[in-house]
């Protein structure tokens, strides 16, 4: 990994208080793939130019076409998938897995950490533009990051 990409990863790793580069890398890629859904092709291209090479590629594959309006849950779905969400054999609460609840909080924390890394490389105007494309809660995380 090039130096810029490693520095970006370290920043996210520290902000999310993660132990490994692998976890931080998965968090960054999951967040960027969700961002790719809500941004249009032009916004993806501009954001990619602001990111280090190892991560810019996650946005480069965005095909032309309108952005997708998704909700909070769909946005964090990729991050949730990357987290360990199972524990014991039977934790029946009508489908709400006991581990998935703290995993949801963890997904929010990691997403905010990635946002802090991204925002550091953007000018205020573009950051505001991106925030405007995010679902309600997620835009709040972006603002606070």
């Amino acid at each position: 990994m090039d130096r810029d990409s490693q520095a970006f990863l370290d920043r996210v790793k520290q902000a999310a208080r993660l132990e490994s580069d692998r976890e931080a890398d998965e968090a960054v890629r999951a967040t960027l793939r969700s961002l790719r859904s809500v941004l249009d092709a032009d916004q993806c291209e501009r954001l990619a130019r602001s990111l280090p090479p190892a991560y810019a590629c996650e946005l480069a594959s965005r095909e032309p076409g309108p952005a997708t309006d998704i909700d909070r849950e769909t946005f964090i779905g990729r991050m949730m998938t990357s987290l360990p969400t199972e524990a014991l054999w039977d934790q029946s609460l009508g489908g709400l897995d006991l581990v998935s609840v703290p995993a949801g909080d963890e997904a929010a924390r990691r997403t905010q950490a990635v946002f802090s890394g991204i925002k550091a490389s953007l000018d205020a105007e573009f950051a505001e533009e991106i925030a405007g494309r995010l679902p309600g809660d997620i835009a709040g995380w972006f603002d606070k990051a």
Partner: protein
């Protein structure tokens, strides 16, 4: 998207019941719930005109989370219950929401026969390719080799293909959507509801907790919209539809796969309903004695 103009002022808020879904954070079911509400609103349908019927499963809990008539059945039985509701009161919009386990597994027999009967109901199947409510066992749509708690060395059964099965069973409307694209999902639900007859909408819906294979990225990488890649595709062409219904794996088609508007809905062919639906009829024609006899037969 078909031209749908809401004649009455119905909003998403009319369908909110303030009950917080007990789905895992990130679950695809959230987008299905919001798309369903949006489909009702886009068509100007008021909550009292809708019945949502669920079975058992994560997705089947959906009737609890919107303000409309709801009915939760035992496992696998929402289709016959929904058919009964439609026969009793055809004026209602009847929507079944269940999962791949409930709809294609436990209720597989009902699925086949509902396809051939063609009642005017819409069936939204939240297909996450796993039994999630019971903590992650392989389902009828789990791919061969899929590792779960009940298939630790990989599923040894081949998955069913619901769109091909529906076609073979005589369904008159078959579509597929992806919960990661709620706008397109809403469009498919609206088209399904506007179809006169049974409409299957198979929804690819990631389970973020128990299915780490068929994820948002997995579906996004493989799925494509028929309308974008094949603008000339004709869903009434049976040969083309059969081919499209069987497509699965590296390429997964989204959109209306098959539609046959020629076959009348089941309720229009039931002789006993030729005089109109049951609900508004009075008991006068039956007589008190016959009514009492009927009541006693159930005691």
């Amino acid at each position: 998207m078909p031209e749908v103009v809401a004649e009455r002022r119905v909003s998403i808020k009319d369908y909110d019941n303030k009950v917080r879904p007990s789905w895992c954070p990130g679950c695809g079911d959230f987008a299905i719930l919001s798309s369903l509400k949006k489909a009702f609103v886009d068509q100007g349908i008021a909550p009292h005109e809708v019945v949502v019927v669920g079975g058992i499963g994560c997705g089947s809990k959906l009737p609890n989370y919107l303000r409309a008539y709801g009915f939760m059945t035992i496992h696998g039985r929402p289709l016959p219950v929904a058919t009964g509701i439609k026969l009793a009161n055809p004026d209602l919009h009847v929507v079944v929401v269940d999962g791949d386990g409930d709809g294609y597994g436990i209720g597989g027999n009902h699925f086949i026969h509902t396809c051939r009967r063609n009642p005017n109901i819409t069936h939204v199947v939240q297909n996450n390719q796993i039994y999630a409510l019971t903590k992650g066992q392989y389902s009828p749509t789990s791919d061969y080799g899929f590792v779960t708690t009940t298939s630790p060395e990989g599923a040894i059964e081949r998955a069913i293909n619901p769109t091909a099965l529906a076609f073979a069973a005589g369904a008159t409307f078959i579509a597929r959507a992806f919960s990661g694209d709620p706008k397109h999902l809403t469009e498919m639900i609206v088209k399904g509801m506007q179809h006169r007859g049974y409409a299957l909408i198979d929804v690819l819906q990631p389970c973020v907790t128990f299915n780490k294979v068929n994820t948002y990225d997995w579906y996004e990488e493989r799925s494509y919209k028929i309308s974008e890649e094949e603008p000339g595709y004709d869903p009434s062409d049976r040969d083309a539809a059969w081919k499209k219904a069987n497509e699965w794996g590296e390429r997964i088609p989204l959109g209306v796969i098959y539609q046959n508007p020629e076959i009348p809905p089941y309720e229009e062919s039931v002789p006993g309903l030729s005089g109109g639906s049951i609900v508004p009829r009075s008991y006068e024609g039956i007589g008190k004695e016959a009514f009492e006899r009927l009541k006693k037969s159930y005691m």
